[in-house]
Amino acid sequence: MAEIAEAAQPLLERATADELKHYYYQMLLLRRFEERAGEMYVKAKIGGYCHLNLGEEATIVGLMAALTPDDYIFTNYREHGYIIARGVPPGPVMAELFGKETGVSGGRGGSMHLFDRKTNFMGGYAIVGGQVPLAVGAAYALRYQGKPGVVIAQMGDGTTNIGAFYESLNLAKIWKCPVLFFIVNNGYGMGTSVEAGSSEPDLWKKGASFRVYGERVDGTDVLAVRDVVRRLRARAEAEGEPAIIDAVSFRFRGHSVIDADRYRDPEMVRRGRELYDPIRKFSTLLLDHGVVDDAWLKSVADRVEREVQEAIDFANNSPDPKFEDLYKYMYATPVPNTPTAEDAIRAVKINHGEF
């Protein structure tokens, strides 16, 4: 019932005009960042795999709006938007995608492995399910140390079919870990639909046998997402009560930039992008309520365009990591008999045919 009460409130009682405008700005920033990242991938500025958050902007911005600086976030590999919405400037994020020293992970991680210590953004993880026990562990540490905050274990719908998810639900419950299992349910794990892969397609129910409460939310509604996270976050922090949030959205494109999306009906995808575009929905809402006008929307679009271009310029103009730093981050505690900068330089010279 709580969610119905939340939704029935007048818009400007749910958020101030400034907050609403900020959510819109953030969502548009993520949209343009991802569209331009897709372009940069096609231009081979970005290597490896590249998974975009298109269509998930309200899910991400709503989540981040509900969190506090004490909170920690672990995500999967589709995470560009999360780190930006958490407060990391787009420049170092784009630089990481470009593999530059100025990137958020020093160019060592790439698109799937973004990290930012200052904002407790604890990493993008690219082995499906791997981040979930880690997030429970972080929540375990908060409880152990008596610190405030909760931990977000973000994952895709496909992750709810892997064993690590279930072990994590069990451990989080028996150890009273303040963690939210945040499922970004866009209906497809690569080319496998939720219904084909999960005997229980209502993913929010999957904690039932662990006595972990779950709730579904419209992931294209930024305020709905924010409010459910706020509510379950407060309970997790106060009572050590984990919960599942099943945020349903619509994937705009294929699984990754290189996925041609042939397994989904093109007409269905076209209609889905119209019906479930969180940004279009939100701009209509703001216009209808007189919170913004067309001129303001245009000014935000211009600002976002400029900021994403600046991020690309920053990434382009940043230096590559140095060869002599190949082993720099090998160990946190140095020990004897490990390779040195000289070893790195020697090996790289041979690799380059310089002998």
Partner: protein, 331 residues
């Protein structure tokens, strides 16, 4: 100097580190109420309470992942995996996560985690409970892997591992838990990770070993002395990083080398050591390097078959005699 068992050295060290640092805590199956499947954690729950000595359900992937996540926030978990065979259930968390996190995220966060586990076979534990997988982890950059052979090294290396900011796989041995050795009291020594030790000086042949096989090598070295063969025993102590200089220095002195390990022959630890010697001391060798390792079968249960499949003193003596003659390995 007091003489204590390997098990007691581990138990004492865990207790001392729990007392020293409130961020250290133990986690594992049956380590608390049950007092440890092999009694390594005996008495610690009573002394430190359930916050510091945490019994886990049977969910290795889950609780190893929890330990890694907790370590990322500054705790120093010491996880017991009942035997190394069960570690395979958690290998994604160790290999794809713990070993990568510091490097992959540009040094912004470390994983000060220790995973203790006994490796190798004893008794008739059969195919799924007698394996040696330390080489799987030693293969992986980002991990540190140690395998002490004596109570002294067990204590010093466990201290080093717990105080280290990187993930350390700490290899124990069921057959070593009751072995005894001198361990100083009131001495906060550490044995550095990544440094081997010449456990016995010799002039004719170098035996390279670690963990239980070092104990075997030291016994054999005594026997060989009666045959007039002077055996030098290099105890690796750490498998990653590997102390190649100590191995090479010894082989350059003795000109002969035998490598012994309990794991399987092909692709095992002995292969890495033999390759190192070939690369760095080829001109000093008077005979091909001999390797002694487990026979390549799923370890059978039957008592005699089981014992015959594992390397022992006889197989080492045979290899030493072969290397002294300069003959090639017989299959």
């Amino acid at each position: 100097m007091p003489v204590i068992t390997y098990r007691q050295a581990l138990n004492d060290t865990l207790g001392e580190e729990l007392a020293r640092d409130p961020n250290v805590f133990l986690m594992g199956e049956e380590i608390g109420v049950f007092q440890g499947s092999y009694r390594v954690t005996e008495g610690l729950l009573a002394e430190f309470g359930p916050k510091r000595v945490v019994d886990t359900p049977i969910a290795e992937e889950g609780f190893v992942g929890v330990a890694i996540g907790a370590a990322m926030l500054g705790l120093r978990p010491v996880v017991e995996i009942m035997t190394i065979n069960f570690i395979l259930v958690a290998i994604d968390q160790i290999v794809n996560h713990a070993s990568k996190i510091h490097y992959m995220f540009g040094g912004q966060v470390s994983v000060p985690l220790v995973i203790r586990t006994p490796s190798g076979g004893t008794g008739q534990l059969a195919a799924t409970h007698s394996q040696s997988f330390e080489n799987w982890f030693a293969y992986c950059p980002g991990l540190k892997v140690v395998a002490p052979a004596t109570p002294y090294d067990a204590k010093g290396l466990l201290r080093a591992a717990i105080r280290d900011d990187d993930p350390v796989i700490f290899i124990e041995s069921l057959a070593l838990y009751d072995t005894k050795g001198e361990v100083p009291e009131d001495d906060d020594y550490v044995v550095p990770i990544g440094v081997a030790e010449v456990k016995r000086q010799g002039t004719d042949v170098t035996v390279v070993s670690y963990s239980r096989m070092t104990a075997v090598a030291l016994q054999v070295a005594q026997r060989m002395e009666q045959e007039g063969i002077s055996v030098e025993v290099v105890d690796l102590r750490s498998l990653r990083p590997l102390d190649r200089p100590t191995i090479i220095e010894s082989v350059k002195k003795t000109n002969r080398a035998v490598v012994i390990a309990e794991d399987w022959y092909s692709y095992g630890v002995t292969a890495e050591i033999a390759a190192t010697i070939q690369e760095e001391a080829f001109d000093y060798l008077d005979a091909p390097v001999q390797r002694v390792a487990g026979l390549e079968v799923p370890l059978p249960y039957a008592k005699e078959l089981s014992a015959a499949s594992k390397p022992n003193a006889n197989s080492l003596i045979y290899a030493i005699r072969q290397v002294m003659r300069g003959t090639k390995r017989l299959r």
